[in-house]
Point group: C2
Chain length 338, copies 2
């Protein structure tokens, strides 16, 4: 191609029509005759012309793009995307693509640099927030975002501002724990942060308590070990810690599959068998769960659908429609680890 960028004027010239007509033909306006359109499209293709997004966006006053902000856990290696969000991201990419929206993806650290969210809000018509939703840290910025008229949908729990899409974590935690109880476990450990900083995990913990209560069991603080992040290493360490504490336990509910995998690793290293010595159930049902050894009993989250629902929600918000938060059912998948 030559130096100068090819514009709609070039195409117009070659096609012997006005630039307006080229624009209409390119955007699929019905105000162009079939013949003219085809002629223009052929020339455009031949000259490798595509309409300039910046100009088009500027003129239309919208960007046809969605921004996905992934909140990294500052504790950990920050170029890692939690595999759970990866699936969600995949589904989002897919749905957005079908709706002809581009998606901008970026890492964020809500607590420190909320201004970035505004920047992104300026590049996109809507924001999709992915993270384990620290309610406490993010509340302020969420509110400001809402105030400034920014459209956003976040993954997570119902509490907090704005529209949220998430799993029914409490129900999931309940089902997981009840399963452990039903197969005979009585001293069940919980691995995961259950402070208000991790509302989703907290809900899972609450579900765990619900199930225990149903069996007349008081949650034992000695069996609950918090964890900074949802990663295998953290599960491993937490479980080691538990083991070293000398606490007895015959069941373990890990707030995520990654944590469960780390726990199983630690358990095996300590010579405990799963599920015989300790039955473990995870949460998420990531693709690997089925192939782990032993195959993970876990709570399935329908991330595929979740991603789709999130983009539907943000698209509706952008159109100015009212949107309700939504909590999706989560279902226990029984395999071999418990």
């Amino acid at each position: 191609m030559s130096k100068g960028k090819v514009t709609s004027f070039d195409i117009a010239y070659r096609a012997g029509v006005s630039q307006s007509t080229v624009s209409r033909a390119m955007s699929g306006s019905p105000l162009v005759s079939q013949d003219t359109r085809e002629h223009i499209l052929a020339i455009a293709r031949e000259m490798n012309y595509t309409v300039d997004k910046s100009a088009s966006n500027l003129r239309r006053q919208h960007s046809a793009t969605l921004a996905v902000l992934i909140f990294e856990d500052p504790t950990i290696d920050d170029s890692l995307i939690n595999p759970f969000f990866t699936t969600l991201l995949g589904a989002i990419l897919k749905s957005a693509g079908q709706a002809n929206y581009d998606v901008l993806v970026s890492f964020q650290q809500f607590n420190t640099d909320w201004h970035a969210a505004y920047l992104d809000s300026n590049k996109a018509d809507g924001l999709l927030l992915l993270g384990y939703g620290d309610y406490v840290a993010s509340q302020g910025v969420l509110e400001r975002l809402a105030e400034s008229g920014t459209k956003f949908v976040r993954w997570g729990n119902l509490q907090g501002s704005g529209v949220s899409i998430g799993s029914d974590n409490r129900q999931g935690g309940y089902t997981a724990t009840r399963h452990l109880l039903q197969r005979g476990a009585r001293r069940i450990a919980f691995i995961g942060d259950c402070s208000e900083h991790s509302p989703e995990f907290r809900e899972r913990y609450l579900g765990y308590c619900d199930a225990l209560a149903e069996f007349g069991i008081e949650p034992d603080p000695a069996l609950q070990v918090g964890v900074a992040d949802s990663m295998e290493v953290m599960g491993e360490r937490a479980t080691q810690q538990l083991l070293e504490s000398g606490a007895r336990f015959d069941g373990l509910f890990a707030a995520s599959d990654l944590l469960a995998i780390g726990s199983i690793y630690a358990l095996h290293s300590a010579g405990r068998s799963v599920p015989d010595d300790v039955a473990v159930v995870g949460f998420d049902d990531m693709p690997v769960a089925r192939y782990h050894n032993p195959p993970l009993t876990t709570v399935h989250q329908d991330t595929k659908r979740a991603g789709q629902v999130m983009v539907e929600a943000i698209l509706a918000l952008i159109k100015g429609e009212a949107v309700e938060s939504q909590q999706m059912a989560s279902e226990l998948v029984v395999r071999s680890s418990a």
Copy 2:
């Protein structure tokens, strides 16, 4: 916020300066006095003003964004991102962010819809291509992309047009297989596509052959089973197939960790122990590899660095600098599966 979008004119009015000055202050131009700048920035912040990207991009004639195209395997569920690319994507997001570039992510199917690549090239200053690089299918579009002056860097193998960043797959395949050989395996299966459609896997296969040759072993076609995708299921099926064929084997080199995990699953299901009955080594060293049971012996790819190198390369290309393709060393990590 009120209806009308706040522009640099609004800020200028409030700050008592010209719009030009606001623009300069916002972009960090040195042509503004310290005082003026601070005053403007304060007002901008107060009014939630950020410069309009579309307008800015249009004017500057660049977009300050990179597009990452992930080539999905049309065979499989297409909202799934291969976890290997996820790590790469994370590193890319990180590096691009540091360089103040946005990144647009999208799924693509090269073979059918190459036009999408042009579309993306129009929205971004440069393209990053992630996929197992079907040389045959993509060659044409890569060439056209290059011709049309589009800057792109692809993940993968050296062959083919344009700049590529990848691992030394052949070396990796060689090391993996040699390790199997050194620990006594003699009949080593290879799981993975080794046609020209998967140049990376093919290289790994070639490395496998190299190692065998060194031990005076002829590759046995009966021990090589192709696979459509790099997923656990595929590894499982391929291994089942191998098992059912009655072929004897005491070692197995899977072209990816996912494949290895599927293989181990199939092996265990058939009552074979790993590594005692069959030693298996994978490729990638994904985060789970270390936590798998048994922990995977595998070939580490430095995806963290790879992502970084890819963005450095594309940024250099955008600046008009010459860039060389690069092959990164891959290193065997010995754990327990072999």
